[in-house]
């Protein structure tokens, strides 16, 4: 109201009998403000549910530097030629037009938790009463000796959907018979536990379709085991015999470093050579969360399991890959699930709406080869001070082709569902 004189304000008030008759911009100034940092599966969902379920009682701002969002989930299917780029890229327009969310297309550069403001790339600040931090992961480049942000232009990580994904696709499509791929898989905890292995499957699919069955994919893994391992290895043997070789630390003995110019990944056992290197380093919460002091020593952000509220700041909620979500994997499904719990508690904080006990769920579908889909899922509740898995399932070895096909079809349905839940 600073732009109005007391007299002008009194005239406006005097002209009406109800507060609701105030001009919209004045009413907007009175609403509690929620700012959401990051427009992915966590942030877009949170912004939508906050705006939708508060019926206009909250002023919701979504800060996301990109105009459109390309989903990390299903980006492996883009690599495998099962999806085109446009089909995994989505607009924020409906969040603005249908729910009245303010979309700020800029980078959130810092959080001032004292002043309760978020700084933007253009130097301006946005105030908040409650803040949702959903920045996803950042890559720890120097966790792999010899790797760097510059090196990623030669040997892409492609662990954030965008230019890196397209670079990996170009390099994959340029391979010729007999040329190999070396993937360095990430250590725990990382975004999308089955992701590296679905990616291996999709890259093998492209090689096979082009008749490049003399090419190999070497997977150098810092982990002793991985998500849906038996299912992936069974699928590789069945669909891509002799093309995929996976090495755990008990075999390779440890990663010494990479040389992206030479195209090598050196381990204690041997040096693996590839025309294409896909290096996926260790990860941590997005830098903005760490800089704001919201992360613990392991680089991810502790939260209250019942609400997704930061244990560092009661006005802040951290959701998605940046959070320490107990037994939940870092996935788009998880982030979407956590966003709804956070939105519920933020509305209760600011509009005194009712809360219900938190429930979380996740399912991760992966594609091994055409019509050969698998899945793993669980549900979760706050228990023993963390988000705890209550019950789960995983696809079985040797399932019949019909079931695998329906699992793949289900994954397509899920994709359409979650992007509709995030963006429409």
């Amino acid at each position: 109201m600073s732009r109005l004189t007391r007299r002008q304000f009194g005239l406006i008030l005097g002209a009406s009998t109800a507060t609701l008759a105030l001009p919209a911009y004045l009413r907007a100034q009175e609403k509690p403000k929620v700012v959401v940092i990051g427009g992915g599966a966590g942030g877009a969902t949170a912004a939508k549910y906050l705006a939708k379920d508060s019926n206009g009682a909250l002023d919701v701002t979504l800060i996301e530097e990109n105009d459109e969002f390309t989903t990390c989930f299903f980006s492996n299917l883009y690599l495998g030629d099962f999806r085109d780029w446009d089909s995994i890229t989505h607009s924020y327009d409906e969040l603005v037009s249908r729910y009245g969310i303010k979309k700020v297309t800029d980078r959130a550069t810092a959080i001032d938790r004292e002043a309760k403001t978020v700084s933007l790339g253009d130097g301006s600040t946005v105030p908040y009463d409650r803040l949702v931090v959903s920045p996803g992961i950042d890559i720890i480049y120097d966790s792999v000796p010899g790797y760097s942000e510059a090196a990623a232009e030669i040997a892409p990580h492609a662990w954030k959907a965008g230019p890196q994904t397209r670079l990996l696709k170009e390099k994959l499509d340029a391979l010729e018979e007999g040329q190999n791929i070396v993937m360095l898989a990430p250590p725990n905890p990382y975004r999308c536990p089955p992701g590296p292995y679905e990616r291996v499957s999709m890259m093998a699919h492209v090689l096979k379709e082009k008749g490049l069955t003399g090419s190999k994919i070497f997977v150098i893994d810092p982990k002793e085991s991985f998500s849906k391992q038996a299912l992936f290895q069974e699928g590789w043997e069945k669909h891509y015999p002799g093309m995929v070789e996976w090495y755990g630390p008990d075999v390779h003995g440890g990663v010494v470093g990479v040389d992206v110019e030479a195209g090598t990944v050196e381990t204690d056992l041997d040096t693996f050579e590839g025309t294409l290197l896909n290096i996926v380093p260790a990860q941590r919460a997005g830098t903005i969360a760490i800089d704001a002091g919201l992360a613990g020593e392991n680089g991810f952000c502790p939260i209250d399991a019942a609400s997704m509220r930061s244990t560092m700041d009661e006005a802040v909620f951290v959701i998605g890959d940046a959070s320490i979500a107990g037994d939940m994997p870092k996935s788009g499904f998880s982030a979407n699930s956590q966003a709804k719990v956070a939105a519920l508690h933020i509305r209760a904080d600011l509009t005194q709406s009712q809360t219900f006990p938190a429930r979380y769920s996740n399912t991760c579908w992966s594609l091994i080869e055409t019509d050969d889909g698998i899945k793993v899922g669980a549900n979760y509740e706050p228990k023993d001070g963390k988000i705890t898995s209550i019950e789960g399932f995983v696809s079985q070895s040797g399932e019949d082709a019909e079931l695998r096909k329906s699992t793949y079809e289900e994954s397509i349905g899920w994709y359409e569902g979650i992007v509709a839940d995030m963006f429409t």
């Binding site: 549910y49 499904f333 979407n336 699930s337 709804k340 519920l344 219900f356 429930r359 769920s361 399912t363 899945k375 899922g377 669980a378 549900n379 209550i390 019950e391 789960g392 399932f393 079809e409 289900e410 994954s411 397509i412 349905g413 899920w414 359409e416 569902g417 979650i418 509709a420 839940d421 429409t424």
Partner: protein, 132 residues
Amino acid sequence: MKLSSLKNLAKGSGAATAALFCIVMTPVPALADEEAARLLEAEHQVTRILSTAGDPAFGAYLGGECATCHQQSGSGSGIPPITGLPADYTVQALVEYRLGIRTNEVMQLMAKRLADEEIAALAAYFAQEEAQ
């Protein structure tokens, strides 16, 4: 075991009933009896749930979990639309998932933790929503 005595067992919760089956039916599987008992139990549960009035506001909250996969617009393939389904259909389907009669693992997982009043609430909510 006779079906008549299973009827008494089936009055307990689905999980407790299943646990009892594990004890009394091992090692000789009597799949036909077990299936019959589960269908009977489903019938009981559906009748019980339909006799209560579901709270659509509670259903709206719970339905947020459904919306991750089932599009609220009521469109979609691969995963069936649920918006606008009659309440008795939703109750029947969720009860059958809860009892493991319907086999989809994701839906079994979702349904197993739903109490009767939650199923009633979801059914009431989706019945009043309109597909676009």
